[in-house]
Amino acid sequence: MKNQLRTKIYNAAVLTFEEMGFMFPVTENEAEPPAGAPEATVCVQFNGPFSGGLVIKAYGGLLAALAANMLGESDTPSEQQQLDALGEVANVICGNLLPSVAGTTEVFDLGTPSRAAEIEFAGGWASSTDVHIALDQGSADVLFYIDGEVPALKE
């Protein structure tokens, strides 16, 4: 079941990076996460039939490139714009992922994306699944936390 969930997370993330950020995966499957601290970490929390959060960590120039691509500007976006862009991507990935996990009739409330440090999540939710995606402009860790057991996945 965990592998199915990883595939769903990977697919939702790749679709979002492609269509919102014009960024494309450089490998067909998950990549190894890079060493070192991320450029930024953002989180979107959700409540509904089950609660949890989706976290994205940006590496290797992803943060600035994503905002520049979304804005369509050659100038370097401000730090706030960069975090805003990553937060929006987290929001869209989470919004697309939840129905594929819980079914399309379930209703979830998504919170506002916020900057986050990993330590805040370390013990907060019972189970987590993460994937690493190498993109043509940086890379990202996408972590999906659920408060409780991973639910039976819907097709």
Binding site: L15, E18, F22, D84, E88, N91, V92, P99, L110, T112
Partner: protein
């Protein structure tokens, strides 16, 4: 007929992206107005002629659903075409929004998706939009 658009989203980068997509859509464009929440949006709707509102759902102060309710309750604005632009994918919630007379564009979206939805809602003819023009973005055809 050039269309005046109101883009309502608490994310400034998302508002910029939606406006970029509208510019790429080939639709006849008038003025763009921007609001970060429902309260700002209602003021802009009061003060300006808006042809189409593109509205996010999850926003602080006043969310998109309440904004839609307020617009529909006011006889002067009840028929304003509203496109919900959201990452929401629950069919239950989408159906509730559709019953309020809105259309829905799912994030992530393409200029083509916005164009088709707005043409269907406003009745602006295809001839008025930049028809048969190859619209490209990042090497991708739309």
């Amino acid at each position: 007929m050039a269309l005046n658009f109101l883009v309502v989203d608490d994310s400034s980068i998302m508002r910029s992206m939606i406006i970029k997509m509208l510019r790429l859509s080939g639709l006849p464009l008038g003025e763009f107005y921007q609001a970060a929440d429902g309260v700002e949006a209602l003021k802009l709707i009061d003060d300006n002629w808006i042809d189409v509102a593109l509205v996010d759902i999850n926003m602080p102060v006043m969310n998109g659903e309440e904004l839609i309710n307020r617009v529909r309750e006011n006889p002067e604005t009840a028929n304003l075409p509203i496109v919900v632009v959201s990452s929401e994918a629950s069919q239950t919630r989408i159906e509730i929004l559709r019953r309020k007379g809105t259309e829905f564009v799912h994030k992530p979206f393409s200029p083509g998706a916005i164009r088709e939805t707005i043409i269907a809602m406003t009745g602006v003819s295809d001839e008025e939009s930049i028809e048969n023009q190859d619209i490209q973005c990042g090497g991708l055809d739309f």
